[in-house]
Amino acid sequence: MKVEVKIDPDLSRPHVIIRAPAATPEVLALAERLRREETSAPFTAFRENEAVLIPLGDILRFYADGKGVSCQTEKGTFAVRQRLYELEEEFAGTRFVRVSNSEIVNLDRVTALDLSLTGTIRMTLAGGAAVAFASRRYVKKIKEAVGL
């Protein structure tokens, strides 16, 4: 396997492209390892003023509820010290996407998408552990994040 590193000062985060003649199991496993590497990076959240390290891949969504910002996992909800716009900037270019004024969702944990008659998208996360509602104003961002 040939490994090449190119430095691009315009990028805000590392961007890995795998070039291969075919999608062999080895290539897919390599891609999965890299993806896991990113999602296993820890994120600091708080429960009763105690810091908790949560792997990014475990986070379903960040949301603002009037009192502050929280992050939700399958195991529970934790307080977050950053504002939503700060999280949006921090996770720009990743699978964490702003879907409404009050929510950022982990697209890798979306298990179903449903459309209401008035255009709002209902996103089911982790098979129903959480539900988020995407506003049409943010659909463009979702499309960009999934490469459309």
């Binding site: 998408l113 459309l115 255009g119 709002t120 659909v139 490469g147 459309l148």
Partner: protein, 286 residues
């Protein structure tokens, strides 16, 4: 003045002026057909001119043309929202358009009686349902594409019936409800409504049926149920006209018309299907 207000103002002015120009021709032709019995431009409704004098009638008629065009100019803005805002703004826009078009058809005498006015209102309702359904179909397509990228896409259904379903609903409106309502509205009381239906409504319906066919094909490939639904629904709308017109031998021209609509929808769907196939090949090559 903020950007939003400027956008509304530009659309109102541009739509109003276009409405005046467009309705001068269309409304003029309609005045000619309704009151003089010939397809020639009569700028001001003779009924209005007789009732309130030519200058006032002209000002009122062109004012209503402006208001109608302005309403059309801003028609997409209420639908740009979502949720409750979309429902509220589109309902307000509908009430405005219903009020302006009612004033227009009642004052000019284009509506011969209350029943015909109600049919015109029904036509407006159909237009709104079509716009809404058109947007909803676009949203469905968008969501399908996102699902696919997230690995959530379901397998295509037999004959792609599930994928075609929103478009078949659209075809029911476009090829059945709208032609039927248009035929009653435009040709009621005229000598040969069937001829009008065949020469005016059929080509318009064919063009209108072709465009969603392209979008459906591009999204899902060849979907045979959509063109069949267009042809079938249009045939039904034509036979509805037969009962009004008592046309002596309608079968042959009606079948030809339905085939034209079916062929246009099929051509659109096949073109879209080819684009879909090309896109997939490109994706595979990349």
């Amino acid at each position: 003045m903020n950007e939003m207000k400027r956008a509304w103002l530009v659309r109102i002015l541009a739509g109003g002026l276009c409405g005046m120009a467009g309705l001068f021709l269309l409304g003029g032709l309609f005045n000619g057909a309704r009151f003089q019995g010939a397809w020639e431009i009569v700028a001001v409704s003779p009924q209005m001119a007789e009732r309130m004098g030519l200058p006032l009638a002209a000002v009122l008629q062109f004012g209503l043309y402006f208001l109608f065009g302005a309403g059309l100019g801003v028609a997409t803005l209420p639908f740009a929202d979502e949720g409750e805002q979309l429902a509220l703004r589109s309902a307000l826009h509908f009430l405005y358009m219903a009020a302006v078009s009612s004033a227009l058809v009642l004052l000019t005498g284009w509506a011969l009686d209350a029943a015909m006015w109600l049919v015109e209102l029904l036509l407006l309702v159909l237009l709104y349902v079509m716009i809404w359904l058109g947007r909803w179909i676009a949203w469905c397509g968008e969501l399908d594409a996102i699902r696919e990228k997230l690995g959530l896409a379901p397998a295509p259904s037999p004959l792609r019936w599930r994928e075609s379903l929103p478009h078949i609903g659209f075809a029911a409106l476009l090829c059945l409800a709208v032609p039927a309502a248009l035929s009653v509205t435009l040709f009621y009381g005229m000598d040969d409504p069937t001829r009008g239906m065949i020469t005016i409504i059929t080509p318009l319906t064919a063009i209108a049926a072709c465009v969603p066919g392209i979008s459906l094909g591009r999204r899902h490939g060849f979907c045979p149920l959509y063109p069949l639904a267009c042809g079938g629904f249009y045939l039904l709308s034509l036979f509805g006209l037969y009962f009004v017109d008592r046309y002596r031998d309608p079968t042959v021209p009606f079948l030809v018309c339905a085939t034209v609509v079916l062929a246009a929808a099929l051509a659109g769907n096949l073109c879209g299907g080819l684009l879909h196939q090309r896109g997939r090949k490109k994706e595979a090559a990349a």
